[in-house]
């Protein structure tokens, strides 16, 4: 099963490689990993999307918790959470009809065009992983020049929070 695990880690050199090294050394899956500093500059927030049997997921959570740099961990999948990913897509946009079509499609997905040239559009889109997949499918493969995806971030709904 797919799990979304959020971590607060010490904002120190090496913390990221300890975590990614754990996944490769123990053969765990890693679908995406995002990380950035939080409002507290000594802490980084990380979101990892992984998958595996219940036993593997339990091991992943325990092994992550065991790392000295991991301050706090939460398996979001156990609760009610919001997940979002951001994507930039550069697409071919040549000629009146193609430009209009891309614009129309982007409106449907509530995507924003953030850069324009005579032959391309750069589009920004936020949503669940499935929504981003759907946009790419709708855009047709041969129109796509470049795709940049951030990997998912997650946050719990309601008052509960992953803080110190």
């Amino acid at each position: 099963m797919r799990h979304i695990v959020s971590l607060l880690v010490e904002n120190e050199a090496g913390a990221l490689s300890r975590i990614s090294g754990l996944f490769s050394a123990r053969g765990y899956n890693i679908e995406s990993l995002t990380v950035a500093e939080t409002e507290d500059s000594t802490l980084s927030r990380m979101t990892i999307i992984t998958s595996g049997s219940d036993r593997i997921i339990e091991q992943i959570n325990k092994q992550l918790n065991k790392l000295v740099d991991v301050v706090k961990l939460q398996d979001m999948t156990e609760g009610n959470f919001i997940e979002r990913e951001m994507m930039f897509v550069k697409v071919k946009a040549e000629g009146e009809s193609q430009r209009a079509e891309v614009k129309r499609l982007s409106d449907i997905f509530r995507a924003r065009i953030i850069d324009v040239t005579d032959t391309t559009f750069c589009i920004e889109l936020t949503g669940s992983g499935e929504k981003l997949d759907a946009y790419i499918r709708a855009m047709h493969e041969n129109n796509i020049v470049e795709v940049v995806r951030s990997g998912s971030m997650g946050i719990l709904r309601g008052e509960k929070a992953l803080t110190l």
């Binding site: 880690v9 010490e10 050199a13 090496g14 490689s17 300890r18 090294g21 050394a25 036993r55 339990e58 091991q59 325990k62 092994q63 918790n65 065991k66 000295v68 740099d69 991991v70 301050v71 110190l164």
Partner: protein
């Protein structure tokens, strides 16, 4: 020192910190990146530096010292090859959860990343085999980092910690205030020692309801100094106990309640009792693959209680019905308290029947070997060693058949006496580890049971033994083969012996003499006793006993890959005995 800070250089801080931390021995090897530290080191006598002959030797010696004393082993090596040579020893300590702090020199901060001379990413290379590691970037944080390193290494589930120190941090002319940090607070590291009271109660209830109970303990008992609590617990219950290779000595090896080591080369009775038991309590062990055999057939009738300080060890390979996260000593003390205050409702009839079954397995004598052979049997050597040392010696070993014979034939009655590389299985561990033990206990008998393959992997430490008068006895079971590999090739590759023949061995007697020690060769069973006596009579000398043993002796019983506890290969002698005791109906 307390309360008042002094101005010290980085090198002086390191040495002063080690003193303040109570470190008596430092195992090391100098080099460019640690020159400043070595300069500070020679200005004092409180911390004794032991100059090894290879950095791997330093780590194993520190490891042996830690296993025997319970205190952290400490090493100091230089950057680059110094650090990489130490990695095998660090990984060895990591797999067996041994507290160790390894200080590695690093090239100066401003050239890190420039492929400088003797530069290697020591933090990166050691990361998968340390409990934690640090790169010191700020001289002002050096003392605090060292304190963290010792705290992490020795608390919770212990393990090795590497502190990588760039040369500029140790420069003699840059001084900062130093005050020994008595305590350290780490928000991301708080090991839990106390087991959950309700779970402990549940576990005791389950134990008391057992008809065929088993106690299975490991190195965690020794690491947590829980031997006394374990002995009380086992005797109160009257249950059979088995111990892992790492746990030997926690419960006395000569006690009738101890039914031998379990696992791949455990006793017949211990493995069958594991297979047949209905309640199993595991304390301070981790269901290693050498213990469980094939996991799908492991303890098929048992409800399992697992006590471990590391939550990640629980339900990792074998599901625990009653998981208890906590230190062995604390949890055992709690269980003992409950047992003292409860009327013990053990089904004594069932327990008596259970013991009878175990005794019937014991009668088959799974460790029997040919005592009338013209060749020296390796088992006989270990038994002789046991007799000559009254079973009280510190025994280190390397890895292979000799290691198993040592574990099988030298019953340890005390913890911390049996010192071997269990998890990583590091050949070359035994001699430097013995050196570390002898430095800690100069008045005790220390022997290294080894083979002609393993001993050559760290033989250079014979020189260190002379320099520091660590008079250890090397018991070389010389069968001219890499014995364990040969055994596997005999059993599983139809005797196609591939590169296990140790041709052109050195003359170990002359080699020992060349290093300034005593060498004795024994090739007849009749000479074994006198030679062993002689070796231990030479109190102040390192003695190399080169014992020419039966080339094709095998370790029995054996659980081969993919097999369960009740599917052991047993020795030809046990097969005969089994036939003569016919009518038991026990399947092998």
């Amino acid at each position: 020192m307390s309360g008042v800070s002094v101005e010290l250089s980085g090198s002086e801080i390191i040495i002063q910190f080690l003193k303040d931390e109570g470190v008596k021995h430092l195992f090391g090897y100098p080099g460019g990146a640690v020159l400043h530290i070595y300069d500070a080191l020679q200005k004092q006598d409180d911390v004794m530096h032991v100059l090894v002959r290879h950095e791997q030797g330093a780590t194993h010696a520190a490891d042996g010292y830690a296993r025997a004393t319970g205190k952290p082993g400490v090493c100091l090596v230089t950057s680059g090859p110094g650090a990489t040579n130490a990695v095998t020893g660090i990984a060895t300590a990591y797999m067996d959860s041994i507290p160790m702090v390894v200080l590695t020199g690093q090239v100066p901060s401003h050239v890190i990343g420039c492929d400088a001379f003797q530069e290697v990413d020591a933090v990166g290379i050691s990361r998968p085999c340390v409990k934690h590691n640090f790169l010191v970037k700020d001289l002002n944080k050096l003392a605090e980092t060292l304190k963290k390193a010792f705290y992490v290494a020795t608390s919770g589930r212990p393990g090795p910690v590497v502190v990588d120190i760039p040369k500029d941090i140790t420069a003699p002319h840059i001084k900062v205030p130093y005050l020994y940090p008595e305590k350290i607070n780490m928000r991301s590291y708080n090991p839990n020692f106390k087991g959950h009271p309700r779970q402990i109660k549940r576990a005791v209830g389950l134990l008391l309801s057992a008809k065929r109970p088993m106690i299975y303990t490991g190195g965690g008992i020794i690491l947590d100094d829980a031997s006394a609590e374990l002995r009380q617990f086992v005797r109160k219950l009257g249950f059979p106990i088995t111990q892992t290779l790492m746990g030997l000595g926690a419960f006395p090896g000569t006690d009738p309640q101890f039914i031998g080591m379990l696992g791949m080369h455990g006793t017949y009775e211990a493995n069958l009792a594991m297979h047949e038991c209905d309640v199993l309590i595991c304390i301070g062990a981790r269901f290693d693959d050498r213990i469980t055999g094939v996991t799908s057939k492991f303890c098929p009738y048992a409800q399992i209680i697992h006590v471990d300080i590391d939550p990640a060890s629980i339900s990792k390979t074998i599901n625990a019905d009653v998981p208890i996260v906590g230190g062995a000593r604390q949890v055992l003390a709690e269980m003992n308290k409950i047992l003292d205050n409860t009327e013990l409702s053990i089904d004594q009839t069932a327990l008596e029947a259970w013991w009878q079954r175990i005794k019937s397995w014991q009668e088959e004598e799974s460790f029997a070997y040919d005592r009338n052979s013209d060749l020296i049997q390796p088992q006989a050597v270990v038994e002789e060693l046991y007799q000559v040392t009254n079973g009280e010696a510190y025994i280190t070993s390397d890895v292979g058949q000799h290691q198993m014979f040592a574990a099988q034939f030298y019953p340890f009655d005390e913890p911390r006496r049996w010192i071997n590389s269990g998890g990583l299985g590091t050949m070359g561990f035994g001699l430097p580890a013995a050196m570390g033990v002898k430095l800690a206990f100069p008045d005790k008998d220390v022997a290294c049971i080894t083979g002609e393959g393993s001993i050559q992997m760290c033989i250079q430490e014979l020189a260190t033994c002379l320099q520091y008068d660590t008079a250890v006895k090397i018991i070389n079971l010389n069968n001219r083969y890499l014995g364990m590999v040969r055994q596997w090739q005999e059993f599983f590759y139809e005797k196609r012996y591939s590169h296990v023949n140790m041709d052109s061995l050195p003359d170990f007697v002359k080699l020992a003499e060349a290093y300034g020690h005593v060498g004795i060769r024994v090739d007849k069973p009749a000479d074994l006793h006198d030679a062993m006596k002689e070796a231990f009579k030479l109190k102040s000398r390192t003695v190399f006993l080169d014992i020419i043993t039966d080339r094709e002796a095998n370790v029995y019983p054996m659980i081969s890959a993919g097999k369960a506890h009740n599917e052991m290969d047993i020795s030809p002698l046990q097969q005969q005995k089994q036939a003569s005791l016919k009518g038991r109906g026990e399947k092998v």
